[in-house]
Amino acid sequence: MNPHLVLRVVSKLLIPLIVVFGLYVHFHGDYSPGGGFQAGVIVAAAVILYALIFGIENAKQAVPTGFVRFMAAFGVLLYGGTGVATLILGGNFLDYDVLHPDQAHHTGQHIGILLVELGVLFTVFSVMMAIFYAFAGRAPDIPEGEW
């Protein structure tokens, strides 16, 4: 019988919840504590938990290293791209007000901060994964009998 049965079942239950909580922290970030950085760490923690329980190879199938590298750069581009978009729309760099005409409710500010923080989420998630893969790839695997 598999020695990690309890761990496997519990983590399978928990991982989706962790990801959803991460997204909650992100999208609720402009009303409550949280934001892209925290959300990125939480989502990365979910994948790292998956890798710890099911093995690094399975995790690399779910989140490939090439994808990690791409998302790390994409997050930066999303953040900066939002700034460039505000420039093109006629504002200063990262002046979110120009993103939406509804000034009374500051809709532009909401859109802007969500996009920027989404970029942060992608990059933080990817960098956490990259660091984890880099370290996990180095250490010799713990043989099953030594758990």
Partner: protein, 509 residues
């Protein structure tokens, strides 16, 4: 120059302060995605050229408008982050943009030789992040934002230095050493900024400057001053805080050394000037004391001691690294003189030193790419083996000593004149002593290059080689600049005089 700048479309010119930082930052992400080093280099080249054009347009604007302000995100200062460019920043922008571009052109063959193929694109990405950070430090008007940019540039610098490990594993310990000391420096700086925030309630430099004169008796402000000076002194490799520098320069990839030696410590020196003269004010008792007892004294000790240490090095790049510490001493002396003439001379030496050290390190890199040279004894007879590179090295070396006909002469001339105006004859004596020691260490290298027996190839003839044109081009641009600006010094001197004037007129609007 004006013509080039006038080609810039107006919206681009209006938002240039933001775009000049954002371009390399975003291009760094794109460079990281490139499949091979060559494409990464193209991306890097395009962004440095574009950044250079923006820098030119900003410099021209500063000359006509005086000061340029830019509010990030439309948030007006002091609440928001403000970019602020005056004549003092303009000099730095010019140095970073020009030397950055030249180093990038030089980089392709050097990086292809020294960095593993799979990591070259990421290496260029790290370079662009560092470049963006340095530009950011140079133009921000917000003390905390300055810390952030300083860290952006430093962290990517640690990475780049560590990447020298493909050639020499000692790069890893050098990078780690640099990381520890650099982080201590950044921590001290941010503690100081935190104290200033506590005392003044603002992070905007102009805001701090307007409130600090009422608080000159405050211990918090004085402690902040001490923390900031130590932190920035570490980053600038001011004499007793320079221990990270020799190994970092000696084991980093050649391209990284020539870029860092010409820009990174210069930017830290600029931040010192900005804080001493603009955020704090030179008449404050604790600032006035520091001019003599910290900057002049330590600058002079550094000038002499580091030069003597340089004489006894075997590793060619370590020798030049110790010489860099000595040159920082010259700039600190200029700062310590504490007059407009002194600051102007310090800034002039900053620009000149970027030209000489850039050329010297580039020449060593060109020797290394062909023959893997590291030690001075390996340079024997290179005047015949690689004459073009050796000639450029010689010009820059003479400039470092301060021989007339090279730009190094003006550095020492104006430093000496500024010191004599203060009646500091002993500073002039130290200047001459340090130049004589420079003659000794540069002379050692030149003697090996021109007088020693050249290496022979298998048939018994003299080995010949030419560095790649991409390396020779930037190298000779710098070497010729070293001579050109001796005969046409007015351009540089007017720039640095304006910079000193801007430093003394402060950051209030």
């Amino acid at each position: 120059m004006e013509f080039l700048a006038s080609l810039m479309p107006l919206p681009l010119a209006v938002h240039a302060p933001a775009i000049i930082v954002v371009t390399p930052l975003l291009m760094a992400a794109i460079a990281a995605l490139m499949p091979n080093g060559r494409l990464g280099w193209v991306v890097t080249l395009v962004s440095t050229v574009f950044t250079g054009l923006l820098a030119l347009s900003l410099i021209v604007d500063v000359q006509s408008a005086g000061v340029i302000f830019y509010a990030m995100g439309g948030w007006a200062p002091p609440a928001g982050i403000e970019f602020r460019i005056d004549a003092l920043n303009a000099v730095l922008l010019l140095v970073i943009a020009a030397l950055g571009l030249l180093s990038v052109i030089y980089a392709l063959p050097s990086v292809a030789d020294e960095i593993a193929e799979g990591r070259q694109a990421l290496f260029y990405s790290a370079f662009l992040v560092c470049f963006a950070g340095l530009v950011g430090v140079a133009i921000t008007g917000d003390a905390f934002n300055m810390f952030v940019f300083l860290e952006i540039s430093s962290i990517s610098t640690y990475v780049m230095v560590g990447m020298g490990a493909d050639k020499d594993r000692r790069a890893l310990t050098a990078a780690y050493n640099y990381l520890v000391l650099g982080t201590i420096g950044a921590t001290f700086f941010v503690i100081g900024v935190g104290f200033l925030y506590m005392a003044t309630g603002t992070l905007n430099m102009a805001g701090m400057a307007s409130r600090l004169p009422d608080l000159s008796d405050s211990r918090v402000v004085q402690a902040a001053f001490a923390f900031i000076i130590v932190g920035l002194g570490l980053k600038a490799a001011m004499f007793p805080l320079h221990l990270w520098l020799p190994n970092a320069y000696a084991y980093a990839p050649n391209f990284v050394t020539s870029f860092l030696a010409t820009t990174a410590t210069k930017v830290a020196f600029y931040t010192l000037v900005r804080f001493l003269f603009d955020v704090f004010w030179p008449e404050a008792p604790f600032v006035a004391i520091s001019f003599f007892w910290v900057f002049a004294i330590l600058g002079i000790i550094g000038m002499v001691v580091a030069s003597v240490q340089a004489v006894f090095q075997d590793d060619a790049r370590r020798l030049l690294a110790f010489s860099s510490v000595a040159q920082v001493g010259y700039m600190m002396l200029g700062l310590g003189i504490g007059t407009a003439a002194g600051v102007s001379a310090g800034m002039l030496h900053l620009v000149n030193h970027a030209m000489m050290k850039g050329a010297l390190f580039m020449a060593l890199g060109a020797f290394a790419v062909r023959f893997g040279i590291r030690r001075i004894s390996d340079l024997n007879g290179f005047g015949q083996t690689m004459p073009l590179t050796s000639a450029a090295f010689t010009i820059a070396g003479l400039s470092l000593i301060g021989v007339p006909m090279t730009v190094g002469f003006w550095s020492k001339w104006y430093l000496g004149v500024a010191a004599l105006e203060n009646g500091w004859w002993w500073a002039v004596a130290a200047l001459i002593l340090s130049s004589l020691i420079a003659l000794a260490y540069i002379g050692r290298m030149l003697a090996a290059i021109w007088m020693a027996e050249p290496p022979h190839d298998k048939t018994g003839g003299i080995a010949h080689a030419r560095a790649p044109w991409l390396m020779l081009g930037p190298l000779w641009v710098l070497a010729i600049a070293n001579i050109w600006f001796f005969f046409q010094p007015d351009f540089l001197i007017s720039l640095t005089n304006a910079a000193a004037e801007a430093a003394f007129s402060g950051v209030t609007r």
